[in-house]
């Protein structure tokens, strides 16, 4: 298989997963905002910064952007924004165009319809009313494409690069969604109303806390799977364990790493990438989420994201040669 073709398939899968991930990210944030207690104003800027597009969204914009319209433009409709949903879909389609001859025809047609749907319909997602429906539709169409690919493509090298692209992006997105949750954490104790009775505050906080983690799980379609697997009520360290360390949940970071590892063991020349995987697995394994406080958690997630980026680079050196396209950017860590 040509390096360029492998690279295009890999990027096509990444962009598709990224489009789905951004849709999930926005959905989870919208839901979290609805759960926020009165008087705390939502911060859309943090969402933009989590996707790595800070330079597009200044502090002033954040202050004046109460309804998030600015931020949502960057995240959904703006074709100049490298992180927007529409940009990801356009890029997925461009990559698919050059590898049409190695994929079943239906895949191209499905990607093409997603492209047309997103171009025509993305504007309605800027307002509150149409947003949920549009994003859910995008997620559904992305999953349809994954389904066609899974059901029709030969399990050859091409499919392995498709899988690896999808899995790296998925692990990265799960880590970013955890970041979103951290960013929207309630203010620390000393910022709370000092007049309120401490006990009441504590109860309130616990309730909001678990509500918000539930939202995170739901946005990853992981609520039921969490219940099945963890068999405990929703609480911070358990949800983090599930999303980071589960070996069975398909969107958990560990699970993604295990699947990439299995693929790399079949392909030749994957030794250096495997080293990165093993380090990531160790980091995930050793994490103790009860002990990790908020800032430490953020730091831990940052470390993981640096690891994903290294993994990507190793794949580039091993398989894609120098022709790895500089324009296709890894979302900044």
């Amino acid at each position: 298989m040509l390096s360029r073709v492998a690279s295009n398939i890999y990027w096509m899968a990444r962009y598709l997963e990224r489009a789905e991930g951004v849709a999930r990210l926005i959905n989870v944030n919208s839901n979290l905002l609805l759960d926020l207690p009165k008087g705390i104003s939502p911060k859309w800027g943090q969402l933009v910064s989590i996707t790595g597009a800070d330079e597009l969204y200044s502090q002033e914009a954040d202050d004046s952007d109460r309804d998030g319209r600015q931020a949502l433009k960057i995240l959904i409709t703006d074709e100049k924004s490298p992180v927007s949903l529409v940009t990801s879909i356009v890029n997925a389609r461009e990559n698919a165009r050059t590898v049409r001859d190695v994929m079943p025809r239906e895949v191209w047609e499905a990607i093409n319809s997603l492209f047309i749907f997103a171009k025509d319909g993305s504007a309605q997602a800027l307002g509150k009313r149409g947003r949920y429906q549009f994003l859910s539709d995008v997620i559904e169409q992305c999953q349809t494409i994954s389904g066609i690919l899974a059901g029709t493509m030969n399990r050859d090298a091409g499919y392995m690069f498709l899988e690896m692209g999808r899995l790296i992006e998925r692990a990265d997105m799960t880590s970013r969604i955890i970041d979103t949750r951290s960013a929207n954490l309630l203010p620390n104790d000393h910022e709370m109303d000092e007049e309120s009775p401490a006990l009441l505050e504590a109860v309130k906080r616990r309730t909001y806390d678990s509500l918000q983690w539930m939202s995170v799980l739901k946005s990853l379609t992981g609520y039921q799977m969490y219940r099945l697997e963890m068999q405990v009520r929703i609480q911070r360290q358990e949800v983090l364990k599930f999303l980071m360390q589960s070996t069975v949940f398909p969107r958990s970071i560990t699970r993604c790493m295990l699947e990439i590892e299995a693929t790399l063991e079949i392909l030749e020349n994957g030794e250096r990438a495997l080293l990165v995987i093993n380090r990531l697995k160790r980091q995930l394994d050793h994490a103790n989420f009860t002990k990790l406080k908020q800032t430490e958690l953020q730091h831990f997630v940052d470390q993981l994201q640096v690891g994903f980026s290294q993994l990507h680079d190793e794949l580039g050196y091993a398989y894609f040669g120098q022709i790895q396209d500089a324009k296709q950017t890894q979302a900044a860590g």
Binding site: L2, S3, A6, D101, R105, E268, N269, F320
Partner: protein, 484 residues
């Protein structure tokens, strides 16, 4: 019910299927019988089915829009086939093989002793001024002495009923994928008609093409590494490049996928490292092939490719420099070449051609511009033509200036009354002009496609059949006549 062919006729033109009295020709009788049972609505429905099939099959070509972007456009297709009898086709097939043979001998001669020039059959100044003569190729000996492995020759039928060769495309002729897909579409939508005829198949082209290319390999092997090289997705023929690669089971590569190593061999970059390439079916023009030798700014080529080719480590099809015979002035000499190299009489006639490089012929051309079609020697795709009878005085004056400034670069031909063929508009057949492009494959053997790509000018009265300028296409049927 059905079609009144009496109303169809068009004065002074030869129609492929209907004779001057409004009666279907013998080969068209089964088709006419089928159509007699159909309403215009049925035909409109069939046409829609065909369009849907084309969309589903993803048959497209790329056109460039005004803003410099490009869009994939669907392939315009007419469901009434062009039908030709096998007896007539056998003659055409022979004529095309003869032509391809002579053209290849001519190119080989030009890059070696130039005997044809020394024997004064072909004028030296034509080569001196040729845009497509590549001095880098002098002395090169490609496998089997063949330079133009894939040749697309355009045929037209004049109102005298005879078939003429209009031009030979020896650089990177395209269209063959549409010929193959047209047959697929017809099988899907007009299956009834296939039972009325015994139609010779066309689908063996990809395997013949592979055999033709494999025979050029510098390393003997049952399956040499053959690749198709494309300029990329923005090329108007990208669909065809990817289609042929897929059909032959070859990699579709771009220049950036290939490198020439210190051993002067060509390798492609794969996920398992570098892999040697034996034969490149290149759909990139000469001048973009190798930035070390030709256009230095070319991003489409491979540095060192010419070095590897000249060292005999890789075969290129068509060979660089083959385009020297793809010149409308050279065209005028093809009948002479056939006599000179093969000592045979040409089987297929050329369209009478006036060379502006000859003073007396130039004078005639300038005096008769309104009757002639004037063509620049080195353009393709139907660009830069003057169609005399449809031109304005101003256009003729502008062309006269161009001709006087560079007579070598122009030829003129009488305006041909291209034959017409019934083509559906709103479910009713109307006559439209057609040509046909068969493809000739040459290496250790010569193959000619059974029929070719029939292109039809969809605009009433228009003679321009190029798809980039509003042309459409039809399936081309060569019928086993003994079976009618």
């Amino acid at each position: 019910m059905g079609i009144d062919w009496k109303k169809y006729t068009y004065p002074d033109l030869y129609d492929e299927l209907i004779d001057a009295n409004g009666k279907p020709r013998t080969i068209a009788e089964p088709l006419a019988r089928q159509l007699a049972n159909m309403d215009p609505e049925d035909l409109i429905r069939l046409k829609q089915t065909a369009e849907l099939a084309i969309k589903e099959m993803g048959v497209s070509f790329t056109v460039y829009d005004a803003e410099g972007g490009s869009i994939d456009r669907q392939w315009p297709f007419d469901i009434l086939p062009r039908i030709m009898g096998s007896r007539e086709w056998t003659v055409v097939d022979k004529g095309l093989k003869q032509r391809a043979k002579a053209l290849n001998m001519f190119i080989d001669d030009l890059y070696h002793d130039q005997r044809i020039i020394k024997d004064k059959v072909f004028p030296k100044e034509v080569i001196a001024k040729s845009k497509n003569f590549r001095k880098q190729c002098i002395g090169m000996n490609p496998a089997h002495g063949i330079w133009a492995h894939i040749c697309g020759s355009d045929l037209v039928r004049h109102s005298d009923g005879n078939i003429y060769v209009l031009e030979d495309n020896l650089r990177v002729p395209s269209g063959v994928s549409y010929m193959l897909e047209n047959r697929q579409v017809m099988k899907r939508v007009f299956a009834d008609l296939f039972s009325e005829y015994s139609i010779l198949p066309v689908d063996d082209y990809p395997s013949q093409l592979f055999d033709t290319l494999a025979a050029l390999s510098p390393r003997p092997a049952a399956y040499p590494q053959v690749v198709v090289m494309t300029p990329g997705i923005y090329n108007s023929a990208y669909f065809e490049h990817s289609y042929l690669a897929q059909q032959m089971g070859c990699e579709l590569v771009q220049g950036s996928d290939l490198i020439v190593d210190d051993d002067d061999c060509v390798y492609m970059k794969t996920i398992d490292g570098l892999e040697r390439v034996d034969v490149i079916y290149r759909r990139v023009d000469d001048l973009f092939l190798d930035p070390e030798v030709f256009d230095k700014t070319s991003m489409l080529g491979v540095p060192g490719l010419m070095r590897a080719w000249l060292a005999g480590n890789v075969a290129l099809a068509n060979a660089p420099g083959a385009g020297v015979a793809d010149d409308k002035v050279v065209y005028a000499f093809v009948p002479d070449m056939i006599k000179y190299y093969l000592s045979e009489e040409p089987i297929l006639p050329n369209v009478p051609t006036y060379l502006c490089m000859r003073d007396d012929e130039c004078k005639y051309v300038l005096e008769n511009l309104e009757k002639l079609v004037v063509k620049p020697a080195n353009e393709s795709g139907g660009y830069g033509l003057l169609v005399g009878p449809q031109s304005t005085k101003k256009e003729r004056e502008a062309f006269a200036k161009l001709i006087k400034a560079d007579p070598r670069n122009f030829i003129a031909q009488p305006t041909l009354n291209l034959s017409t063929i019934p083509t559906l508009f709103d479910g009713k057949p109307e006559p439209r002009h057609v040509d046909m492009r068969p493809f000739i494959l040459s290496s250790d053997q010569i193959h000619v496609t059974t029929g070719g790509l029939t292109r039809v000018a969809l605009t009433k009265g228009s003679l321009v059949v190029n798809s980039s300028q509003g042309g459409g296409s039809k399936d081309t049927w060569i019928i086993d006549e003994e079976s009618i």
